[in-house]
């Protein structure tokens, strides 16, 4: 095996520089403060080497260096620039490198902000990436193919040739990399017994993961919705689940961090959550990249031979966190117990965190089913019904809690007070729920969910408005996010439970009605260089409007694969989703050959014997001079499998010149075979049979002409726009919180730098002074 050496040098350089930096930081921690500058320099060298190897890979891709195996596998000369760039993360090696790329850049901020914690934090932080760099050194993206170099590459998976898929992975891996920061701070906190200071500095990074991972998940869902054509945005596939679960734990962590900041207690929760969230990312990476789920996912995971490495990394970090937490458990300070009523923000937060974690664990359980059941014999998978069953009550609880939070203080509320502040929202929710009922939402379970969603959205909306009125909008991030959560739940419930779907076959130019909409398939629009082949479908709505939908159906020129993308007509209230399923160009009638059999003889057609035994005509009817005669033809059929079947075929003959009526039964023993009597001639003792699905020669078969047609799945999805809108609102809230907390973290760092700090020496018992953040409830 030969390699493109500059890339390999950069990767190994990164590995050694990173190791050197980690070792130096350990020595700094042990008291060699004079080595701090060297530790930073080697970190900078590590980051430079990672960035350099990424730059080298990108250059190779842009230069179409098809002698490099990775470039050859994912890239091609005809790709436009943005898709060419995205081939960087089309494969496992490139996406690992992307993860390290973000990690190395984030690290430059981390060592500046960690201050007195710099050495322990950086040791942990570096180690979270060194394992991946080691994998990249082993499974290099810079392998060369044996000469001669191919003229063109295999090309990018056509499904991934979509703008959403260009930006989805970088955003996703930014989230993965940024979660290393809270993990490193938590481990350093356990190591150095500094229990509070880390929260302020790690919070912006946890929020960044919440934002980026969330956005990446949404982009993936939206891509699936508009590209894959099965009508949904979430399929509970392992690849989707393994990004959702870390996000849920990150959401739990963010809430836990807010709780600790506000109450100066519950320290253990965050140490556990920061470790769990990071472990969830590692476990997901292991599940999706090791090949253990290969037979269970619609995505194909190729085992690159790194399973052992992934298990090793996973075990190391879970073990490290578990041992440290267990070891320090008794020395983690717990505040004196206070008597907080159940209806207090503290309890609501703890409940919310519990639900997030339980939900994350249950989804992980479902995703790990093939792995767990393998231990006991038959590897099994859970149906997607499992996820629907379990996530619905959890989602309900989360939104309910989010609805309670705005008007409940940390110290607690009496039920009466709460009732007073909740009255307006209860009324709003009741009105909106009644409206949904009138509009057609009749199922009890969905009405309960909708009521909760509206209640939560309105409670939090009022909190946002109150904040804005008091010119404190910057602090309304959490409430705003909860407004989005409420809207999203309403969208998910309505678009899921009240979607109506129908499969239609549209013969060309024949209008077909589904619900109150009429669809007419007009023509195929042939593809051009920059436009895919599409089907033109005219849609007439009940309101008298009409428009054209263009679902795409084309054959990928490289793979010969048939691709189909739905056409979506979106409006605020309803999406009309037209997913093409099959196009039948139609065919002219074909004239085949009928088989004439004389009584008592056997004819063999491609292995199947047909014996004509006898007629059984209703002679008395003939005698009576009736115009209609029933003729029964007895056949014996011997298919190639050696069996023998008797079959009687009915044939009704009309004397008055009307066309004969013949039944067309299945031929026993011949799957798909049919037989029909075409004519009988009693005088010769012969019968003429038309056989379908028996002869292997297509020219023998008769086919009626078929009309050009398009089969489509038409789905009307009400309020799906609310899912996206709710998500945007949630992310806007997250962004607001991120901006605020990043500012706070920066100020905390500046404050810390004003104090004399002794790196590596004994440290003060508390972190930088943060005003106890006890927001008063809104009234």
């Amino acid at each position: 095996m030969t390699y493109f050496w500059p890339g390999v040098v950069a990767l190994w350089g990164a590995l050694f520089a990173g190791l050197a930096s980690a070792v130096t930081y350990i020595r700094v921690e042990r008291g060699r403060r004079d080595l701090l500058a060297f530790a930073r320099t080697t970190y900078a060298a590590f980051a430079t080497a990672i960035v350099a190897s990424a730059a080298i890979l990108m250059t190779l891709l842009l230069q179409h260096r098809f002698d490099v195996a990775y470039v050859n596998s994912y890239s091609a000369v005809d790709l436009p620039l943005h898709f060419l760039i995205s081939t960087f993360w089309a494969g496992q090696e490139g996406s690992f490198l992307l993860w390290c790329f973000w990690g190395s850049l984030i690290g430059l901020f981390v060592w500046r902000s960690a201050k007195e914690q710099e050495a322990p934090v950086m040791v942990v932080y570096l180690s979270t990436f060194l394992g991946i760099v080691a994998i990249l050194c082993k499974q290099s993206p810079f392998k060369l193919l044996p000469p001669p170099p191919p003229a063109d590459g295999v090309g990018l998976n056509p499904l991934l040739q979509d703008p959403w898929m260009v930006i989805h992975p970088p955003v996703m891996f930014l989230g993965f990399a940024s979660l290393s920061v809270p993990f490193s701070f938590a481990i350093a906190a356990l190591w150095k017994k500094r229990w509070d200071g880390w929260i302020t500095r790690a919070l912006p990074w946890a929020l960044l993961t919440f934002l980026t991972l969330g956005t990446a998940i949404l982009m993936g869902g939206y891509w699936a919705y508009k590209t894959l054509g099965w009508g949904g945005y979430w399929g509970w596939d392992p690849v989707e689940n393994t990004s959702l679960v870390p996000w849920l734990f990150t959401a739990a962590l963010v809430h836990g961090m807010f709780l600790q900041r506000a109450r100066k207690r519950h320290r253990k929760i965050n140490l556990i959550l920061a470790s769990t969230a990071y472990a969830a990312i590692l476990y997901g990476t292991f599940l999706t990249r090791s090949g253990v789920l290969a037979d269970f996912s619609v995505h194909s995971f190729v085992d690159l031979g790194i399973t052992g490495w992934l298990v090793g990394i996973l075990a190391t970090f879970i073990g490290l966190a578990a041992v440290l937490i267990a070891w320090r458990w008794r020395s983690i300070p717990t505040a004196a117990d206070e008597d907080t009523p159940v209806l207090s923000r503290s309890v609501l937060f703890i409940l919310g965190i519990a639900v997030f974690c339980a939900l994350g664990c249950v989804i992980l359980l479902g995703t790990s089913a093939p792995l767990l059941t393998r231990l006991s014999g038959n590897p099994s998978q859970v149906q997607t019904a499992f996820y629907a069953k379990t996530t619905t009550p959890a989602g309900f609880l989360l939104v309910l809690l989010a609805g309670f939070v705005p008007f409940v203080s940390w110290k607690g509320e009496t039920l009466k007070e709460f009732g007073k502040s909740a009255r307006r929202s209860l009324l709003v929710a009741a009105v909106l729920t009644f409206l949904s009922f009138v509009l057609g939402a009749k199922r009890g379970d969905t009405l309960i969910l909708l009521f909760t969603a509206f209640f939560a959205a309105d409670m939090n909306l009022r909190a946002v408005l109150r904040k804005a009125k008091n010119s404190k909008f910057a602090g309304a991030g959490g409430y705003l996010a909860h407004v989005g959560v409420g809207l999203m739940l309403a969208g998910i419930v309505v678009s899921g439970a009240y979607a109506r779907s129908q499969r239609l076959t549209l013969p060309v130019n024949v209008p077909k009605k589904t619900g109150d909409t009429t669809l007419t398939f007009l023509r195929v629009i042939p593809g051009t260089a920059d436009r895919k082949q599409a089907m033109e479908v005219k849609v007439d709505t009940a309101a008298g409007k009409s428009f054209y939908a263009y679902p795409k159906m084309y054959t990928n020129s490289r793979t010969g694969q048939l691709m189909a993308n739905p056409a979506i007509k979106s409006s605020a209230l309803m999406d009309l989703y037209v997913a093409p399923q099959e196009y039948d160009p139609g065919q002219p009638e074909t004239i085949g050959r009928d088989v004439r059999l004389v009584k008592g003889t056997t004819t063999n057609i491609d292995g199947t014997g047909f014996t004509f035994r006898d007629f059984n005509a209703d002679r008395s009817a003939m005698m009576r001079g009736e115009k209609t005669v029933l003729v029964l033809t007895d056949l014996t059929i011997t298919p190639p499998d050696g069996s023998s079947h008797d079959l009687t075929v009915r044939y009704v003959f009309h004397m008055d010149g009307r066309e004969a009526e013949a039944e067309e039964p299945d031929i026993p023993g011949v799957p798909g075979g049919k037989v029909r009597v075409m004519a009988v001639s009693p005088n010769d003792g012969a019968v003429v049979l038309r056989l379908t699905g028996v002869s292997k020669n297509p020219a023998d078969e008769f086919h009626a002409a078929t009309v050009e047609s398009l089969s489509v799945d038409v789905t009307r999805k009400p309020l799906i726009a609310l899912v996206w809108a709710g998500f945007y609102v949630m992310m806007a809230g997250g962004l607001l919180a991120f901006v605020r907390r990043a500012g706070e973290a920066r100020r905390a760092v500046l404050e810390a730098s004003e104090k004399p700090v002794s790196v590596g020496g004994p440290v003060p018992a508390t972190g930088p002074a943060i005003p106890a953040h006890t927001r008063s409830p809104l009234r």
């Binding site: 494969g91 295999v154 998976n157 056509p158 499904l159 099965w230 009508g231 949904g232 037979d295 996912s297 619609v298 995505h299 194909s300 190729v302 117990d337 206070e338 008597d339 907080t340 159940v342 207090s344 503290s346 309890v347 703890i350 409940l351 519990a354 639900v355 339980a358 664990c361 249950v362 359980l365 479902g366 089913a369 059941t373 038959n378 099994s380 998978q381 859970v382 149906q383 019904a385 499992f386 629907a388 379990t390 009550p393 959890a394 009240y498 979607a499 779907s501 129908q502 499969r503 076959t505 694969q561 189909a564 399923q581 039948d584 799957p671 798909g672 699905g693 089969s711 799945d713 789905t715």
Partner: protein
């Protein structure tokens, strides 16, 4: 505060317990053809396509075919829906459904096709025809 932790713990335990029951109920095991014939409930079987066995009934939109396992055993499968693209090129097919009347009545097919790519299109899943008003 203790109260809060207790409620949270109870809630979590109840939920995880509920999750475990749902887990057991919805587990679909990968079975051999013989096991699938004896099993009740939803199962999944995997095999190669017998390329001479597949029939498509356009009027009913019903695809029937037979799977072959590595020992040469056969399992008839029926699937209501449009014939998946590249069906004939499949290396292996996973049918998920119930065993009824001597054949698997598939709710879902996973069709694995040979591909040069390492990625999502290698295997595609196809759900059977949507029932009116079905949630997706």
């Amino acid at each position: 505060m203790k109260k809060g932790y207790w409620i949270a713990a109870a809630l979590t335990l109840a939920f995880v317990g509920f999750g475990l029951t749902a887990f057991q109920k919805t587990l679909t095991p990968y079975l051999t053809f013989d096991e699938a014939r004896k099993a009740r409930g939803v199962v999944q079987v995997m095999g190669g396509l017998d390329k001479t066995s597949d029939r498509y009934d356009t009027s009913k939109q019903e695809l029937s075919f037979e799977l072959l396992d590595d020992k040469g055993h056969r399992m008839p499968v029926v699937y209501r829906g449009i014939r998946p693209g590249n069906f004939k090129d499949a290396i292996s097919i996973v049918a998920i459904g119930r065993y009824e009347d001597g054949r698997i009545d598939a709710e879902k097919l996973l069709v694995k096709c040979p591909s040069k790519y390492q990625g999502a299109e290698v295997e595609k899943s196809y759900a059977s025809a949507p029932a009116p008003g079905k949630a997706s």
